[in-house]
């Protein structure tokens, strides 16, 4: 059974390909604001929400650091521990800027993750449907959409 869940169907193919090639254990694709669009490997909604909030916060902090250093932006950062590595990258898609959070184990490497992440970005760019104008976000809609997204991610 696939452990990949997506809010929008066009994300599924590229994400599944990335996971199978890179050996990633957990992957999240989210907006810089922390809205999750796709996930692989998570089994509990609370873990996804925590990881998304942390990834979004880290991206915002490093983005602010980059601004202070008069850098354009930090594209990716990685941390390695003994059993796991974490890769967090910001990329541009036809749907706007997105973040990818990848957790990998000893059976993969940062080199493999970086390599197949480049492919993921290209695959997502090719798979994304044409952008459609979005209606203004209302608080009531936001909560409903958030609940629907979480339900989809853990169907």
């Amino acid at each position: 059974m696939s452990r990949t869940r997506v809010v929008e169907p066009w994300l599924a193919g590229p994400l599944e390909h990335f996971v199978s090639e890179s050996g990633a254990r957990l992957t999240l694709i989210l907006t810089p604001a922390g809205q999750v669009l796709a996930q692989h490997g998570f089994t509990r909604a609370v873990d996804v929400m925590s990881a998304a909030a942390l990834a979004s916060g880290i991206a915002a902090s490093t983005g602010e650091l980059a601004r202070l250093l008069e850098e354009g932006e930090f594209r990716a950062l990685s941390h390695e521990s003994q059993r796991h590595g974490v890769f967090l990258a910001r990329f541009t898609s036809p749907r706007g800027p997105l973040l990818a959070l990848v957790v990998y184990g000893y059976d993969s490497s940062i080199g493999l993750v970086q390599l197949f992440f480049e492919e993921l970005v290209a695959d997502l760019a090719a798979a994304a449907p044409a952008p459609t104008p979005r209606a203004p976000v209302l608080a009531a809609d936001f909560e409903r959409e958030l609940n629907e997204s979480l339900a989809t991610l853990f169907r």
């Binding site: 390695e80 059976d107 490497s109 940062i110 080199g111 493999l112 970086q114 390599l115």
Partner: protein, 116 residues
């Protein structure tokens, strides 16, 4: 150190039929130094070769024959030659078909001795 590494790699690339040589970290699959011709994707070769070496090490370890020292992978349009030079580093040569494997291996061994 960087100049010496580059010299080591350049010497291997002088063997006819060698399209590139890389020094790669086995654990992270990242390029430490490289000398490759146009068309050889150094990052991709490094990441995938390191993954291969890790898997081979698991296979040889499980078989009770220790760590792999030298790997020769012959493909349709060339060959990959990999030499473990330190515990966690590997020298990788990308070669054309018909390359003198013995000579490349010799140069990799010489280079590996200097990297150590």
């Amino acid at each position: 150190m960087t100049d010496r590494l580059q010299e080591v790699l350049d010497r291997v690339t002088r063997v006819r039929g060698v399209r590139g040589v890389l020094l790669v970290g086995v654990d992270d699959g990242l390029v430490v130094a490289d000398a490759v011709m146009e068309g050889v994707r150094a990052n991709a070769v490094a990441a995938l070769a390191a993954s291969l070496v890790q898997r081979m090490a698991r296979a040889t370890g499980t078989s009770g024959i220790g760590q792999p020292g030298f790997l020769h992978l012959e493909a349709e349009r060339g060959a990959l030659l990999m030499l473990a030079v330190r515990e966690r580093l590997v020298l990788v040569a990308v070669a054309e078909p018909g390359v003198n494997v013995g000579l490349v291996r010799l140069e990799l061994l010489r280079g590996g001795a200097e990297v150590r």
